[in-house]
């Protein structure tokens, strides 16, 4: 990351990958990437990072914790069977 242009591009990167950047900004980023190897690497690894964490499995609520929640709220009689 050496020049101001790289910093500008970096600031727009989330908008670019989320499809929220304007056409002009998208074109500018794509043009910049063809000439800047460092930024191309950052964009690729930034995008891959997003894809990886979006694929993470969601932790499940343990049944025992759910049961204790109903007990703590004195709502055991209203707990559906799991």
């Amino acid at each position: 990351m050496k020049v101001e242009m790289c910093q500008d591009m970096l600031g727009d990167l989330s908008d670019y990958l989320d499809g929220q950047a304007t056409e002009d900004i998208c074109a500018e980023i794509e043009r910049h990437m063809t000439n800047c190897e460092d930024c191309r690497i950052v964009v690729n690894t930034f995008e891959k990072t997003i894809l990886l964490y979006r694929d993470l499995p969601q932790p499940a609520l343990p049944d025992t914790a759910r049961q204790r929640l109903y007990q703590a709220l004195d709502l055991e009689a209203y707990q559906p069977s799991s």
């Binding site: 964490y53 609520l61 759910r66 929640l69 703590a72 709220l73 709502l75």
Partner: protein
Amino acid sequence: MNDSYDEAALIARIQAGDKAACGQCIEIHSPAIYRLGLRLTGNEAEAEDIMQETFMSAFKAIDSFEGRSSLGTWLYRIAYNAALMRLRRPSPAMVSVEETLSYETQAIVPKQLFDWCCLPEEDFEDEEVRIELEDAIQELPESLKAVFIMRELEGLSTAETAVALELSKGAVKVRLHRARLWLRERLTPYFAARVESLEV
């Protein structure tokens, strides 16, 4: 969050003291509230306590709920405040407030310039990578973590996250962007080592 039910009717029933409606609210929202607590604290027991505190506080204060946000967003807000109370509890493992603020305010400039996208796809899918990702998320600076979890892992919109965390929408966008940059920076040495081990 499950939006395919009549939320206004459910809230009215809870406000009227209908305990079955409280149970329904728990069934809909408790998994997400537990996940938020777990990812904010990294501790299952703390996550369970946060979940219990959230529903106790919510049912006690339900008469004051005015419907300016969805019920889910309101619960997230209560849960986040409950987690924050715990995270600010003195603990040797905690980072200082100064450190947290400096993380937040400093520009995150990419220093790790190694292209690890060339790794075979199956290398991204093993259990070790999943654990590394979870560890990296756990290590996110506190000021970025809640925004990241709500926006990226729980799927709240920018506006919903802003309401839950009492931030502006602009602040949510900036913090999410910084969290993503921080994670890329944090994960690059790990994946670079994996690429290098393949090349040996």
